[in-house]
């Protein structure tokens, strides 16, 4: 037995699809104070530098510091990596690293049969075991009989290594994440350099802590080398993936979204004001942009979600790019202000990092349930373009497109991301801003023939005249405007005309976005699986696996949620069956049915966890019958 995924899979009766064999899924889990996220993200960094393809899934507990040893305090980090293109963070871990009994309790059922559990036996004291909810020690009663178990007293090892550095017992114990990282790095033949640099940076000022952590990392690695680990754990080397040439880095969705907005503003020739209010999982966008003042980016932490949206609108009115970022509950609060931006036809980009709801819901868990809110969730007839990003790197592209549409059409645009995309990381070929065609904004300066709602005959966008411009003084507001003068108008026919115009302006955008393409498979056939957002990975992998097995199935991925691509209806009708897979209770399904009157079927999941490949393949199987 060794740690290669395919070798492990041979002795199970449900073989994993062949296509995933050259990859492995490792899940690190521990107490929220155990530094599991650091362990996972550093391992991801080492793996990326080894030129493997990867996808990560940080799975945070809701509590910041839950009582030690409880199941609700368990933090996990899953990584799927391999020598082929990785599209998801993996359905089932092949390896589970559990740093305490609670981490084992929460995660062992998800582990693949025959998978490997690495336990910190030092954390399995009787009271810890009870606290985690095990009636008896799970190592003794057969709970883990379907898995291979490797017990190491990581706690004791870490403490022993830390001792000579004179750090406290607590600090010593806290090095166990790095000890573990050292061991796992040895198992997969990862270089430790990037982690050593990280430790040196992070603990630069505290010599003893830094040295203890560096020592722990090396000790974990050495332990692997010298202990032969019951003979069946040999180091595995995973060949590099053939990536397209370029410079790569790991990027999270939040980073790529923030940088994409900065790039978009640059391409539009505008400075940016991001007004935001802290909310999980959107806040990292605010944090990242707050550090980018030298880019002409102003960040404003407003008093509430409403003020954040209003301040962004005020900034756009002043001639900058107004941006606001939040998550579902916050977006709900912004809706009235979004209506104002629609009525006054000002550019505004709204970044919605969706989370499970309704109400507070599961703030740290992912969902795609704000599609209705984005497309239809405002008082009155209030259309806006809505774009969905599907992966961390894709956030960059979508952000630029959103800025282009907002400024070209003088409209709010909403981007739907989600908690999974925001926190996950993937290798990303770093683009250059100069790879993108600029779309410089032209402010109105010509006084002749001006009124604030004078429109471009093609785009129907109104003129953007900013305060400070001589001769263009004007008033705008939420009251209906006269089509021909921009002054207040209560005229019934005018309201009809303005409503129709706002509607036509947004609908016209369908002619300015790419036609819907087929992500994988044929443009007609028995079944199309339709997805949007972060379900791209599992759907794509599932469709690819099923096609290899001879099933007639295609994958259609929708980026432009509103307006929909102009050919989408035709395309969907060219399949016998359409299956919409999404992490909500049928929102895209309803949207597509309402637009195209098709009898689409659905695969819906709202557990707060990403869609699994296996869930999609079994849905495909049940819709197509056995091939």
């Amino acid at each position: 037995m060794n740690l290669q995924a395919d070798a492990g899979r041979k002795d199970t009766n449900t073989p994993a699809p062949k296509s995933e064999l050259d990859s492995i899924v490792v899940r690190f889990a521990g107490d929220s104070g155990d530094g599991v996220q650091l362990l996972g993200s550093q391992f991801a960094q080492e793996t990326a530098l080894a030129s493997n393809s990867l996808a990560t899934f940080p799975d945070y507990p809701a509590e910041i510091r839950a009582p030690t040893g409880t199941t609700y305090g368990v933090s996990a980090f899953q990584i799927n990596f391999g020598s082929r293109l990785i599209k998801t963070a993996g359905d089932q871990p092949d390896v589970l690293v559990a740093l305490n009994p609670a981490a084992l309790m929460v995660n062992y059922k998800g582990l693949r049969k025959g998978g490997l559990v690495i336990l910190d036996s030092g954390a399995f004291k009787e009271k810890d075991i009870k606290r985690a909810g095990f009636a008896v020690d799970p190592r003794l009663d057969g709970t883990l009989k379907e898995f291979r178990v490797m017990e190491i007293d990581i706690s004791a090892q870490a403490l022993e290594v830390a001792k000579p550095f004179g750090v406290s017992q607590k600090e010593g114990l806290r090095t166990k994440n790095l000890w573990t990282l050292g061991l796992v790095s040895w198992m997969y033949d990862r270089e430790l350099n990037s982690t050593m640099e990280y430790i040196t940076r992070k603990f630069g000022a505290e010599d003893a802590v830094r040295d203890a952590n560096l020592a722990a990392l090396k000790a974990g690695h050495a332990y692997g080398e010298t202990h032969e680990l019951s003979g069946d754990v040999a180091p595995v080397s995973m060949p590099a993936v053939e990536f397209e040439p370029g410079t790569y880095r790991l990027v999270s969705g939040a980073e790529a979204l923030a940088w994409g907005m900065a790039a978009g503003a640059q391409l539009a020739g505008l400075e940016m004001v991001l007004a935001s209010y802290p909310i999980t999982p959107s806040s990292p966008i605010l944090h990242i942009l707050a550090k980018m003042k030298q880019f002409g980016i102003t960040t404003f932490q407003a008093e509430d979600e409403i003020a954040a949206c209003c301040a962004a609108i005020g900034a756009s009115y002043g001639g900058k790019l107004g941006v606001t970022a939040s998550s579902g509950p916050g977006i709900a609060l912004k809706t009235e202000a979004i209506g104002l931006a629609i009525s006054t036809e000002l550019p505004l980009v709204i970044l919605n990092t969706q989370r499970a709801g309704p109400s507070t819901g599961l703030p740290t868990k992912t969902e795609q349930s704000d599609l209705f809110l984005a497309v239809w969730g405002r008082n009155a007839d209030a259309p806006i373009p809505v774009l969905a990003t599907h992966a961390p790197g894709d956030c960059f592209e979508v952000a630029i497109e959103a800025v282009r549409l907002a400024t070209k059409y003088m409209t709010p645009v909403m981007i739907l991301s989600d908690g999974y995309i925001a926190n996950a990381a993937e290798p990303w070929r770093i683009p250059s801003v100069s790879d993108y065609a600029p779309f410089k904004v032209q402010f109105r300066t010509e006084t002749e023939g001006f009124h604030p709602f004078v429109r471009d005959p093609h785009t129907l966008a109104r003129a953007w005249a900013v305060p400070g411009t001589p001769g263009l003084m004007h008033r705008i507001g939420g009251i209906e405007k006269d089509y021909n003068s921009g002054n207040i108008s209560y005229d019934p026919a005018n309201h009809q005309k303005m409503t129709d115009t706002r509607f036509a302006k947004i609908n016209n955008i369908a002619n300015d976005i790419p036609e819907q393409s087929v992500e994988l498979g044929d443009t007609k056939g028995k079944l199309a699986v339709v997805g949007w957002g972060s379900t791209h990975g599992p759907i794509n992998r599932a469709v690819s696996n099923m096609r290899e097995q001879g099933f007639d199935v295609s994958h259609i991925h929708i980026r432009h949620v509103w307006p929909l691509p102009r050919n989408l209806g035709q395309l969907l009708k060219s399949y016998e069956k359409v299956l919409v897979a999404e992490m909500n209770n049928g929102q895209m399904l309803t949207l597509l049915k309402s637009q195209y009157l098709i009898d689409a079927k659905s695969l819906l999941k709202v557990s707060g966890q990403p869609l699994k490949i296996e869930e999609v393949t079994s849905a495909i199987r049940s819709h197509l019958g056995s091939n």
Partner: protein, 340 residues
């Protein structure tokens, strides 16, 4: 509505838009509007660099009647929109026009934070103690017992005092004026415009339709002199037709007292001298209300501090001093690897 050629010296007319004013005839808003047109002209303001931002309510129609830039936003949110505008364009002269319902009820939070942050906005709160636009419901400044469609037996909630609230928010400039006193408003507008940071002016405004004469106890000609104290920095706080009424500080009770000079041994040297930089005094003055005290008018408190957007710009300049941002470079910072 285009103004193509700007004569150098503008007049009040140049600040009036071509839109027909739609307030009820006799509404106090007309007088304030007129005063603003003239003040801006007299101050040498430029219409293109001046912006009026408002929320919702009768007062919030104000921007439509100004030949400046104007933004009629949504209920209560004008300070937030104006904050965003000021962050984007610190050089603009930004005025916020709001009412007692707009600013102190639905928008209380935004007013609080605009004042606390000290954003360089001139905020005018037209206080008529009623909701006019929605047809006469009581407002957060209505007095206990106010009968209205929503309080047929009289309101039971305790009213807010706009100036006390503003001081509590750490406002650095608070003042009060009366709609029809154009000369006094002119002084207040001028001072507010000069003051860097948030300036807050409560304007007592008569709603002739839903709350007529609610301020008559100090605005009626017959009582005005005896019931209005116009404070001026460095001047003793004397008022009254006979110029013999005044305010005195009682150190025992830590209260202000209304006294008459010449009675009970009170002499002029007992009288308080206004110090607009004294925050404690401002607190005492803003809380005074008829009938036991005069209505206090004028600049009650002015003690400038760095304004919010100036501090933001200073930080941005500090960041920019290390060179402009290079996104390509930023994205390539940290751990990267090359694939050839």
């Amino acid at each position: 509505m285009n103004v193509t050629v700007q004569p150098d010296k503008l007049t009040a007319k140049d600040f009036a838009s071509d839109q027909e004013v739609r307030w009820c005839p006799g509404c106090g808003d007309y007088a304030i509007l007129k005063a603003m047109h003239k003040s801006l002209a007299d101050m040498g303001a430029r219409p293109e660099n001046t912006v009026f931002v408002s929320g919702i309510g009768c007062s919030s129609r104000f921007p439509y009647y100004m030949a400046t830039y104007g933004f009629h936003t949504i209920h209560g949110r004008a300070p937030a929109v104006a904050t965003g505008l000021k962050l984007a364009r610190p050089e603009l002269d930004v005025w916020v026009v709001t009412g007692d319902g707009d600013a102190l009820s639905i928008g209380g939070n935004h007013l609080f934070h605009a004042l606390r942050r000290n954003v360089d906005l001139n905020i005018l709160l037209f206080n008529n103690e009623i909701y006019g636009l929605t047809k006469g419901q009581y407002s957060p400044t209505s007095r206990v017992g106010q009968k209205s469609p929503s309080t047929p037996m009289g309101s039971v909630d305790s009213p807010a005092n706009a100036l006390t609230f503003a001081l509590g928010c750490n406002a650095r400039f608070i003042a009060r004026g009366i709609d029809v006193q154009a000369k006094n408003l002119d002084v207040l507008f001028r001072r507010a415009r000069e003051h860097k940071g948030a300036s807050f002016i409560e304007i007592i405004q008569n709603c002739i339709v839903y709350n007529d004469a609610v301020f008559a106890d100090f605005t009626e000609k017959a009582v005005a002199d005896d019931m209005q104290l116009h404070v001026v920095h460095g001047q003793p706080m004397i008022f009254g037709k006979a110029k013999n009424k005044a305010l005195r500080f009682n150190a025992q009770t830590f209260q202000l007292e209304a006294v008459v000079i010449g009675e009970n041994g009170v002499t002029e040297k007992d009288i308080l001298v206004h110090d607009e930089k004294n925050r404690v005094l401002a607190g005492l003055l803003s809380a005074l209300r008829p009938p036991n005290f005069p209505e206090v008018l004028g600049v009650i408190y002015c003690d400038p501090a760095t304004s919010y957007e100036a501090a933001v710009v200073a930080q941005e300049n500090l960041a920019k001093a290390k060179g402009p941002g290079d996104l390509d470079k930023l994205m390539r910072a940290g751990n990267t690897w090359a694939v050839t």
